[in-house]
């Protein structure tokens, strides 16, 4: 027995011959948060629908805590909490009524329903909205109700499709904390196209493009790819580029349009100190020095672009 909470094995979904998702493999362990990244129409939602049993895969299988989704859908679904992209809210009900119903449908025993509802409301900051009709709640609060419905039966796996869409910055922060919190004792899969969000909440990242997994690994790998061996320096009296190249460890230098100079250095070399010393000795007027990070967007672009070139 392994400890995987989610296993996707060669998941493929055809829509009239066109592969919306093709041959996606991954596993997720307990206590991990997986971020699903990808441009529009990449197959994020389709994959999530297959994971939750809303859509039958054309090939491949899904296992939740070792239970096959196709063979034992009821047992597998009992372990999942799912918030689809379009919030499935019954707007004519109040928050309490809706959550009670959700708890009942997810087999929370009658004794524990009240507690489960209170708990979910508290975690999502909905306590003061109990008696309000869902219809009359703001977009952000409706989203919270959606999340509350997904965690009400404390499932092993929580799957949230774009959970922070349409929320204000404070709510986004709250929801991210909530996701982290849920992620400590359960597994969470979120999809998003907000890249910094992935960096903040996820342990694992998957980038999917045109139905294919182009990156699958821990967030650290992605972060490392980001940092690169580059420095940005700002000088008030910049010398000729050649002078900078003379500093040991510097392999490349170029002036940028905004007056800064970008310096590349070899792996393992740390020329920062040498640059500062040189700048002080020769009066270059150093006012800024910082590692030059490629944005996550660039990494993302690279990964999805490489794929296009390969095709």
């Amino acid at each position: 027995m392994n400890n995987f909470t989610v296993e996707a094995i060669e998941l493929t979904r055809l829509y009239g011959g066109r592969e919306a998702v093709s041959n996606v493999n991954f596993t997720l362990s307990k206590g991990e948060v997986l971020g699903f990244l990808g441009p529009n129409g990449a197959g994020k939602s389709t994959t999530m629908k297959m994971l939750t049993g809303n859509l039958a895969p054309s090939h491949g299988s899904v296992k939740i805590c070792g239970i096959d989704m196709i063979e034992n859908p009821k047992e597998a679904k009992a372990l999942i909490g799912y918030l689809p992209e379009m919030r499935p809210l019954y707007k004519e009900l109040t928050v309490d009524e809706y959550l009670t119903m959700a708890a009942r449908l997810h087999r929370v025993s009658a004794k524990h329903i009240k507690k489960a509802v209170e708990n979910a409301k508290e975690r999502c900051g909905l306590t003061h909205m109990s008696k309000r009709l869902i219809e009359n709640l703001s977009n952000g609060y409706q989203q919270r109700v959606g999340i509350a419905q997904a965690i009400i039966h404390s499932p092993m796996v929580v799957i949230l499709d774009e959970p922070t869409v349409g929320l204000d910055p404070i709510q986004i922060r709250d929801i991210r904390t909530l996701i982290r919190e849920v992620g400590t004792d359960h597994s969470v899969i979120i999809s998003t196209h907000i890249l910094p969000e992935v960096e903040m909440v996820c342990d694992q990242v998957q980038i999917i493009d045109k139905g294919k997994l182009v990156f699958n690994g821990s967030i650290d790998v992605l972060k490392r790819q980001r940092v690169g061996n580059k420095l940005l320096i700002g000088l008030r009296n910049p010398p000729a580029i050649e002078e900078i190249l003379r500093i040991s460890g510097v392999s490349e230098a170029e002036s940028l349009a905004n007056g800064l100079i970008r310096v590349r250095y070899a792996e393992n070399a740390e020329p920062a100190e040498a640059i500062v010393q040189a700048a002080v000795q020769q009066g270059w007027g150093l006012h800024q020095i910082a590692p030059d990070q490629t944005s996550l967007e660039d990494v993302f672009m690279q990964l999805t672009y490489q794929e296009q070139v390969a095709v």
């Binding site: 859908p73 689809p84 449908l105």
Partner: protein
Amino acid sequence: MIINVARKELKSVFASPMGWVILSLLMFAFGTQYLNAVNDYFAVMSGAMRPAERTGVTQFVGQSVYGLASFIMLFAVPLLSMRLISEERRSQTLPFLFSAPISLTEIVVGKFVGLVAFLSILILFIGAMLSTLNIWADIDFGFLFTNSLGLLLMVAGFSALGIYFSSLTQQPVIAAILTFIALFALMMLDRFFGDDPTNVLGSLSLTRHFQSFASGLIDSADIVYFILFAVTFLTLTVRRLDADRLRG
């Protein structure tokens, strides 16, 4: 689990004024018919009729009220059943049910039970209303029972058909119209083929099977007909929803 889905349906009917309004309007119609029938009974029976031709008050009033009820259900059921699946499809709430640990059959049967439970409130009320005749006369409760049973079975058949059409479309109104046309056609079959008892099409008619209940007769063939009718359309609905999952 079926009960939980049924409870959800009942809850959403009564969450808006719609459920209450429909109940009260229909009961108003049945009540008026009841009063008229009682008045008519005295007018008709007091006259020149020979004693052998006279019918009991239960049969006279009962036939009038249950006749109206079966006719009104033809309109009421499509209006109530139209939302069951199409509305969920339109507001994209179906994934909520699909990702809960319940099977498609439980979802469909749950919705069906919810609707039939709502309609049986009406049937119970009609039964209670007619029972009040017992204060003045000695009425035939068996007749009331068969009529109620017949009405319940017929309404169950209507509901199953309504749910099926509701699963075909995203527009509740289209579901209602299709259901109404289909029910009306099934009612009309009796008109065209009723004369020939050997005709297969004629025996598909819903009216013909209700007739025996209406005259106070419980015929197992009719019970089986209504049960098969409901099971057929519920199965088709489950298959339709399963196609969603398979084809997307």
